[in-house]
Symmetry: C2
């Protein structure tokens, strides 16, 4: 997939769309102005690229119009990120401040959080507007909106599960819980749904092979999306800060129930378990962080996570065997190889 | 308007809709289960009634189907309430706990807030689904969704303005700011938009007099909705806790820039201003609360607020003079007379 090329276009569509918004009150403009900065600062734009790909798989030819619709999924992604960063108390995102932290330059901490909840809700509304603004038929637009709503329900379940697992003692978290979490919170909205949304807008949608294609994209998305998140878990622990754009210790500090961590805990000796319990959930020292990484390596949890991701990527590729799309294969490979 | 009768029906549509939702993971069901309790506990159901009324004004006859669509605005209202209660740090709503407080029975304070942000987002998604689930034509559904999205953008601006005014010294807040706030944050989504959404579904929508009717409903909503919120401000200070369902001192404690407070400040003597500044924004003692009420009465701010609301209600009634709807007149009168 020509991710980089697509990225530029998506950013320009996003920019145009955001700059067409009108705000009545001057004070609110100051709040609004942080949105383009947050959105355009970085981001891989994987989801709009997949939206686009789904449209092309369905023989869509109105590429410019599809591009404008494809930013809906990126706006929605940013709505999720804004709320997620609040819940996770994250300070950094894409090498800059999270939105609620950016507001702290002008407002107190609670007002900043409140403004960010609100700005998230607004970005969510804009994500619908970007679909409504296109000139696809009403039937097609409604179909995409149905997908879009369904997606939010999955993410709700994933988010709740994430918060609940976070409160669950590490010893009670099973591998299946983490896989369910990744499927519900990430796989659907990162991979399958953008593909299906794009396909919904295409001429082939509703046609004879439509259901079969959708099913294939669904399976592909579930597999590849879960692999994507496992890779994210691994990069969060073993990646480079300057590439991922977030502090390498933050997952440990937040006490995230990541796959490598959960596998390592289940495989660990009593003494390793004790160490993990005492370190995970608060800011680790350099040595403590080293210890965690060592345990995850020594128990084979790192390797196991990598293997699971690789296997899922293979299964995902197989699922879309009949569909002609180099990009789907490229994306699958990218997930395994990526370092950011 | 037969608000009470309508209320029962709306509650049963809401109940059916919510009980048709499927949740995959058991732990998440526990989070979900608080939603019906929160939604069905109370509430005036003014908005669905107006949605219904807009439909009838447009000669709509599919009343059952319209009813099912009308819960969309109630679901959206509850999404706003859930997030609003977090931002305002409110503990009580409709005589029970706010959602984030309800979650505190099982989770720590921050997880509860996070779950409530998330449940608000989910309720927002459901509000769209309740429109999609009806069998109106795709054109009509899309038109309603357009209105629905537009509404959220107004509320964003209102919410931001609310948060910013809250941080603005009382001496710098003008009457116009509060009126803008009420128009943006409340009037649109409480009155005009439900009416216009209901009308959009009706056979007359898009017809020869359609635009004129929409304009009239718009003006009516702006006037009546602002009056509604002024009345809310007054009830917040002078109403009875057992009727309004929220502590009578909470607006003062939160430092809300309500119309009577802002008028009283501008009219007050230096000594009254000093008293107001020292009391507003923290939990008032019984005596301090009495002092505030006394100042608002003595400066004539209470009376002025009531007059403004009454005047707007008259203007609102005039705006819809040509439309045959006793309910619109009844609602206008109800706003002036209500004590809850």
């Amino acid at each position: 997939m020509e991710l980089r090329e697509n990225r530029k276009k998506v950013n320009s569509w996003l920019k145009n769309f955001l700059s067409s918004q009108e705000i009545e009150r001057e004070e609110v403009e100051e709040v609004f102005d942080e949105i383009p900065d947050f959105l355009l600062r970085g981001g891989k734009r994987v989801r709009p690229a997949l939206f686009f790909e789904g449209y092309k798989i369905g023989d869509g030819e109105r590429l410019e119009e599809c591009g404008k619709a494809s930013i809906s999924i990126e706006l929605c992604h940013n709505f999720f990120l804004i709320h997620d960063d609040i819940m996770d108390r994250d300070k950094l995102r894409r090498g800059g401040k999270t939105l609620h932290k950016a507001y702290e330059e002008k407002f107190d901490a609670w007002t900043s959080i409140s403004l960010a909840i609100n700005t998230g809700d607004y970005t969510n509304a804009l994500s619908f507007e970007s679909i409504l603004d296109t000139n696809f038929s009403t039937d097609k637009k409604l179909k995409v909106i149905e997908e879009f709503v369904e997606m939010r329900k999955k993410v709700f379940e994933g988010q709740c599960l994430d918060l609940i697992l976070h409160e669950t003692p590490l010893s009670d978290v099973r591998v299946k819980d983490v896989l369910d979490l990744h499927r519900l919170k990430t796989a659907d909205y990162t991979i399958s749904r953008p593909l299906k949304m794009g396909f919904s807008l295409s001429p082939k949608s509703g046609g004879p092979d439509s259901e079969k294609t959708v099913e294939k994209l669904e399976t592909y998305g579930r597999k590849i999306g879960t692999a994507f998140q496992i890779k994210d878990d691994l990069l969060g622990l073993f990646g480079k800060e300057e590439e991922t754009g977030k502090p390498v210790t933050s997952d440990i500090e937040e006490g995230k129930r990541t796959l490598p961590l959960v596998i390592a805990y289940r495989r660990g000796t009593e003494s390793q378990k004790e160490k993990m319990k005492s370190i995970v959930g608060s800011k680790p020292s350099e040595n403590e962080f080293k210890t965690i990484r060592e345990i995850i390596r020594k128990t084979g949890a790192k390797r196991k996570g990598e293997e699971m991701a690789e296997e899922m990527v293979e299964e995902g590729k197989r699922a879309v065997g009949g569909i002609e799309s180099d990009s789907l294969v490229d994306l699958a490979n990218f997930i395994i190889e990526r370092s950011y």
